[in-house]
Amino acid sequence: MPKITIDNKAYAFEGQPKLLQFCLDHGVELPHFCYHPALSVPANCRQCLVEVGMPVRDRETGEIARNDDGEPIIRWGPKMTTSCSVDMADGMAVRTHRSSELVEQAQKDNLEFLLINHPLDCPICDQAGHCPLQNQTYKYGPEGSRFEFRKVQKPKKVVLGPRVMLDGERCINCTRCTRFTDEVSKSHQLTIIERGVKNYPMTPPGEVFDDPYSMNVIDICPVGALTSIDFRFRARIWEMSSAPSITVTNARGANCSYWVRDNLVLRITPRANPHINDYWLPDEDRATYPRFNEQRPDGPRIRGDEGLQPADWETAYARASELLGAADGSNILFLGSPYATVEDNYLLCKLAAALGASPPAYIPHIEPGAGDGWLITDDKTPNAEGCRRLGVHPVDPALVRARLEAGEIAALYALEDDPVASGLFQREEIQDIPVVLHTYHTTNETLAAADVALPAAMVVETVGSYVSEDGHAQRVWPAKAIRGVNRTLRMEMGVSRLDSHGTPFDRWHNAANQVHCKPSWEMLPNIARGLGLEWADASPKEIMREIAQHIGAFEGATYENMGSSGVRLTEIGTLA
């Protein structure tokens, strides 16, 4: 296997990787700005310079010449080279700043250059705290600057499009954004204009940067030049915490991080997953974060003489069990949900089976033509595929209507969806159903008919798994705390009892904005026990292990296997 020596340490490599990527993959950190693994290599920031040399070979024999110690004699290149653009070769020797003063000085020199026209307005810049320029300046930069002149002035607060704002002065011209629109989203909506030190990215005349993936340029911008119009000045990065998760706006299952402060989700950023979304996230996935904060319920409610009244959880469970138990099992309609996790739908299936009802069905939410063949799908729910694999199929509205008219629906259990708003029932029709039990995320139209309303935890508050349109099963972690104690959720958040004495910015410490709800996998066993069934409380991890063991379509889909990037399930058609 070919070998390369970096700072006198030998590494074996395969193929022909670029030197910078190889270094980053092997724990040899090198400062860089313009290089991004998913984009072409322009080598324009000149920050990743290293010394590169090749062994001297004997002209006649082709043998590598060696010194008295048997070490190969290296002929070093006349100039430093950008490691991002170097193709590795057998025998190559590299000196980084760890073993070369020249490289160390070059890094300092380059950062000094980068900063002379950079406004250094970190205290008011959204990028501060997670800024590659800031971080690498602290680590590799010079002590100060010798620049004593007026900085170049460029346009600031430029609205490039509906979601992205430009501060031209902060830009260091790495061209990541223009390369993204040229090479990844292919909208070609950004280009560099002006020349030399006046350069900055801009849309062509008359063009609006409304690329459906426009906000990715904010993530890859190594400085605060491109900021989110929605998020700018909303929160400091060090006051927030983030949790790995997936987006629930569509069925692609794109990996993301939910950023939370004071138990409010403030933004959604992509999380790299080569199997699904690489480094990217569509704008529509990011725009929906207010749904986790607004119109959230405040505890369970039971219908009394004066409408829905607040109740405690035990009372609500008991009432739900009582109403379900009173109905004939075959006349109960269970509606699963493609918004709910695999675990929640699975427990609902179990409950339906135990009561002798037909298996749950789900209400599909498809917008034909909305998909783009990449990260946006026609299906606007995250888990329709997971439902199908559980045997929960799209509901047949005609059949439901026929049963309703025949008076065969004595009770409805609607899980985490809105049957009225989605048109399965008219507002008046649902009033005819004697018993309506509803677990829900946000205030909705079905609530008006509910007899027991149980607020359910959303993707940002629960643990569970979802299956993407193409069969990729992934689990999520809770990003923010809900009211009340759930040991499983706490463990998944990495919160111990000691953490209760955290700082005011820790999400678990702050009781503000904690939604009064529970995950469905906690509610359903309680209702089942009320019906006399012997159900133990089980964590989603245990439930999923059970599913993976018993349902062929989920073979191998344990939390251990899913890890943080998910597991590809077998095609249903190919199952024995």
Partner: protein, 441 residues
């Protein structure tokens, strides 16, 4: 034959240059017209390479190598060798020449003369090179400011197509090759060979990283050779008069006729065609009529603003060819010579040069984008009497920080004049500085 005069000692140190007969810009009236050009033996070299069996493409390249022709665009790379870098012809993969007529360095204005007075020599050279490398199309990239000559060349080119000298089946042979005149939009960086390619492709003219070199991946990823206008104009001469003749003109290692663009404080500035290897003193005193107003010479820049400046006491016996100029501490560049008399303020000179590079840096690479502006700031401050000695040290350090650390050579071109002007005229700079508040080591 008079030309033999130059073959003997390979240098222009004698007075033999006085009997030199111009070949790039012969004194023929209306030579820029197709009929006149053909009437004076034009396109015979093209006809020869296309119709005579001995002129296989390989033989043309051999002849170019043997002639010793070196690129006239500034770097002085051997042209025949460059042509031989083109990979073998691959069916379905077009091959290109990009002919560089984007001259825009201060002090350089010789391609313009060719395009104005002898454009057909350029076309003929292009077509001979096209035959040598089996080229499908040539993009003649001309600086946009040369609008009049672009118009003229376009109409002459149309005539070439009409008469069958370009395009399909040239001169009735099986060889086809197109020429396209591409107008630049006025950026110095477009003269850098790879950013010229980007510009032809319709992109922003950012230089490309090398490797891959244009011969491997040039225009639209296809094999491409980039040559200067004057370089290609030499090709018909080599075919017509032979490689030996060419190699015998002027300096031994840097032979051939060359266009000297002499500007600045001389009596008769202009473009002069003479062999390489002329004594700089001859060029100033005898060709350009001496320093203006009988003043004393102070400094010259031999080949365009980017090459190091030479003090008057450094040019004794120095000839205009790569070897002699390297020994003297400068470079041949484009042979666009800037002459400065004793009254010249070298700080002002440097201020103007640094302003040019600040204005023309494309802004792709950090050191050049930021460094050129900083340097101009510092030199301006010194020129205005506000600088300190420390500023001079910073200037030299900035040169270190820029040189060899960028994609293309513009940063080097911007740093060399700074380094050399300060080193060679340090007293003038120090005299303009304020008393330093810093200790000077």
């Amino acid at each position: 034959m008079e030309m033999a005069l130059f073959g003997d000692n390979g240098s222009g140190k004698t007075d033999a240059w006085r009997s030199y007969e111009r070949v790039l810009l012969p004194p023929v009236r209306d030579l820029h017209r197709f009929d006149t050009y053909v009437g004076h033996g034009g396109y015979e070299a093209l006809r020869a390479v296309l119709t005579r069996e001995e002129w296989t493409p390989g033989k043309v390249i051999e002849a170019t190598k043997a002639s010793g022709l070196r690129g006239r665009g500034g770097a002085g790379f051997p042209t025949g060798l460059k042509w031989s870098f083109m990979p073998p012809v691959e069916p379905g993969k077009p091959r290109y020449i990009a002919c560089n007529g984007d001259e825009s360095e201060p002090g350089t204005f010789k391609d313009r003369q060719l395009m104005e007075y002898n454009p057909h020599l350029v076309f003929e050279g292009i077509l001979i090179a096209a035959w040598a490398m089996q080229i499908d199309a040539t993009y003649l990239y001309v600086r946009g400011e040369y609008a009049d000559w672009i118009r003229h060349m376009e109409s002459e080119l149309a005539m070439l197509y009409d008469k069958g000298y370009a395009g399909k089946r040239i001169l009735g042979t099986d060889f086809s090759s197109d020429i396209v005149i591409h107008k630049g939009a006025g950026a110095y960086i477009c003269g850098e060979e790879t950013s010229l390619l980007e510009s032809v492709e319709g992109k922003r003219a950012y230089p490309r990283i090398k490797p891959p070199f244009p011969a491997q991946k040039g225009l639209w990823g296809c094999p491409t050779t980039v040559n200067n206008v004057e370089t290609l104009a030499c090709a018909p001469l080599i075919i017509n008069r032979g490689a030996e003749w060419f190699a015998g003109v002027g300096a031994e290692k840097h032979p051939g006729p060359v266009l000297y663009g002499i500007s600045g404080h001389v009596e008769r500035p202009g473009v002069y065609e003479y062999p390489t290897g002329m004594l700089i003193t001859d060029l100033i005193e005898k060709v350009a009529g001496g320093v203006r107003g009988g003043k004393k010479l102070k400094a010259i820049v031999p080949g365009g603003a980017s090459v190091p400046v030479l003090r008057a006491d450094m040019i004794e016996g120095v000839t205009m060819d790569a070897e002699s100029l390297r020994e003297a501490g400068s470079m041949m560049g484009t042979a666009g010579m800037l002459v400065m008399d004793e009254d010249t303020d070298m700080v002002k000179f440097l201020r103007r040069v640094t302003r040019f590079y600040h204005h023309e840096s494309c802004g792709q690479c950090t050191p050049c984008r930021e460094g050129t502006g900083w340097i101009e700031n510092l030199v301006t401050r010194i020129d205005e009497g506000q600088g300190t000695l420390r500023d001079l040290d910073i200037l030299l350090e900035l040169c270190d920080q820029m040189e060899g650390r960028t994609v293309c050579a513009l940063a080097d071109a911007a740093a060399w004049p700074v380094r050399n002007t300060i080193q060679r005229f340090r007293e003038e700079f120090e005299a303009k500085c304020r008393q330093s508040i810093y200790a000077v080591a």
